[in-house]
Subunit: 409 residues, 2 copies
């Protein structure tokens, strides 16, 4: 059961003029499920994208990077679930290329104008034939108002589709922003078995798309973790169709740029946090905020040490305020000159530890009360400086083990 | 159920002349269990020790370090289970010191000649009064032939006591080596909720004890991981009572030094691996060997990425050859210039992946066969150089979650 996550609200999934989406059942791994999506971009759209830092990045990720580097205008995204096409070597590259070729041919564009994405099981041959066989139907099904189907069409172990939208005003025009994402395991920053697609009809200088995608990822998708495993296939794509009819935004620090960024960030945060809320086996949504660091980097290190600790995560699952485990994680986070006497620990409003030891005023009943909540804020003060960082994670439950022990069965 | 781990064989637990051990029930956390041990060292013994790298190291660890630095001959070890006395601030230091003072007074030695050790729940006040109340009985119970009781007296979530011994010949004399350890969660190198004590009656130059302890830890206890959590209390202590009647060993590269080291290493490896075999919820014992690295450090990084991956560990639990997860872990281990086309992966004798992709000759049935074993060797070739490194770990099961969700209940 996801934590405080509702199914998408169709009324908020704003169609993006200039972007049509087709979703079909191609039988890639299982029959009777939507597993193939095409995003068709009108001429004039711009794209930015951020990909996994895993050296074993999947064939489609390598091809995306090469196609984006080639610089031709991107006209289509081709997404399959059920098979990650990772750890598949030269054969996997050839199969991914064949799907791009087939879609490009049908659209009358160059293969380098297609970006491929795959998610699912690693190290299995991609059934490129089934993908290609599904392309005509996917193209025929393409329409602007199809975000919910796309959110369903990229799911793997997700229990709910993830889709959010918002609108912002730029120069008197209403700009639409809609996005989808999928998790739900192998989630940690930089990035995860995470696919995210956010589109807007805003008019944005093409050169701004890439830094925008990076900034959005760093503020959202790169701050979530379920299990600390960095996937081979993570991709976040930002599309601007440039159809909204206002003067192009060329700087983020302008009034228009700020409005656009805030709208995009709102959607990106909802999508990223939805992945954690629907993390494999998650029963709790946990925000880990580390303040008082000398650098953002060390705050991030402490936050992830806490968020990745199996002992901390199982304690949250059990609603057991065994909070010394959090202090232990702070201690092994790798800050060599950490003075533990400066550490403060709060659970929501409860002051658990002070100066590195148990707060004399702390009552276990107070910790227990917070631990029983479905959403919890862990706040650590390092007492070293002014930097801070926040990440989001979930607990570790029996269900996580079940899901990952049985995933291929 | 521990993996291929038998209860200690009393015939192999050789008494160490010059070292007496007393173990009693002090009611530290639960009634009716042995939870307090004293090791009494005759005058003339030498000690080396290695401690946790966690900055939140427990009060007893800090006191051990300070007592060892003071340089007075160590005459007693004082060990309790049930309470880790970690994250307890100045009060925890005072309580630990009071127990050292009380034991020193009873033995007629200085408090700096006592080393205290605690394991158990973090961030709870140490019941020093109960420890002190148990000291007279512990001293009265002390005898040379008491290793099994000591192994029982340091257990926390361990399901079996861990004790091994061996004998080696030095200059025609039989030298005894016996050791005990405890796990079983919060286990990762440098070091873990791990207590280890190894003693020998060999005659060893005092200056050699510290480098010996470090070398032993690096070759054994610092190569195991259960859950990646580095504890606040890890300690490995090496005692030489110098009673064996041969000329003192002053160099490890001598014939005698080599014989002694091999004997100590044998016991240390058995103790360390026993912790993994009895890891919380473990159903499989997994050796991760990484060859062909440019440096030992990068091999270690890859080995731990595999050994810590929840996805890899749950796949082992399920006996599911979902081996792409191992490649993914190799890919995110942090080798920035890793050429994945050079990666080879073996599961025991089964060649799973070659040149970064699935081995065409690999049959899933072969992977399945190995995955069903209780002991598995994962071997990764990096194709970058001559360095290698090996670590030992276990799988991640429902039982791990249960144990850590319920630990304090």
């Amino acid at each position: 059961m996801p934590v405080d996550l509702a199914p998408p609200n169709p009324a908020q999934l704003f169609p993006i003029p200039g972007l049509r989406i087709g979703v079909v059942e191609a039988g890639i791994r299982k029959v009777g499920r939507k597993d193939l999506s095409v995003f068709l971009l009108d001429a004039g759209a711009s794209v930015g994208a951020v990909f996994t830092s895993n050296r074993f990045c999947a064939a489609p990720v390598q091809i995306c990077q090469s196609h984006l580097a080639a610089g031709a205008a991107i006209r289509a995204l081709l997404i399959n679930t059920g098979n990650a096409n990772a750890g598949t070597g030269a054969d996997g590259m050839a199969r991914a290329r064949s799907t791009c070729d087939a879609l490009a041919q049908r659209l009358g564009v160059d293969a380098a104008q297609v970006l491929p994405f795959s998610t699912g099981v690693i190290m299995e041959p991609l059934p490129a034939d089934r993908i290609i066989a599904g392309l005509d139907a996917a193209i025929a099904a393409a329409k602007e108002d199809n975000w919910l189907a796309a959110a369903q069409g990229i799911m793997t172990t997700d229990t709910l589709p993830k889709a959010f939208g918002t609108q912002v005003q730029v120069q008197g025009k209403t700009i639409n922003i809609t996005g989808i994402s999928k998790g739900a395991g192998m989630i940690r920053p930089n990035m995860a078995t995470m696919l995210g697609y956010i589109a807007t009809d805003a008019c944005v200088a093409p050169a701004l798309l890439q830094p925008l995608a990076k900034a959005l990822a760093d503020a959202s998708f790169n701050r979530i973790t379920v299990d600390g495993d960095t996937s081979t296939n993570d991709s976040l794509v930002l599309v601007a169709t440039n159809k909204a009819g206002h003067a192009p935004i060329s700087a983020l620090d302008s009034v228009e740029g700020h409005a656009l960024y805030q709208g995009l960030l709102k959607v990106a945060l909802q999508l990223a946090q939805a992945i954690v809320r629907d993390g494999e086996g998650a029963t709790k949504f946990i925000t880990v905020q580390v303040d008082g660091g000398a650098t953002t980097e060390e705050c991030s290190r402490v936050a992830y040490a806490i968020a990745h600790s199996p002992l901390v995560k199982t304690a949250f699952f059990a609603s057991d305020p065994n909070l010394g485990r959090i202090l232990a994680a702070v201690g092994y986070a790798g800050i060599a000159d950490l003075d533990t006497d400066g550490i403060e620990l709060y659970l929501d409003d409860v002051h658990v530890a002070t100066r590195g030891g148990r707060n004399p005023a702390y009552q276990e009943a107070d910790g227990q009360r917070v631990m029983k909540q479905s959403e919890i804020l862990v706040r650590v003060g390092l007492g070293r400086g002014q930097a801070s960082h926040t990440v989001w994670t979930c607990d570790l439950s029996h269900e996580y083990v079940s899901i990952n022990a049985d995933y291929r069965s």
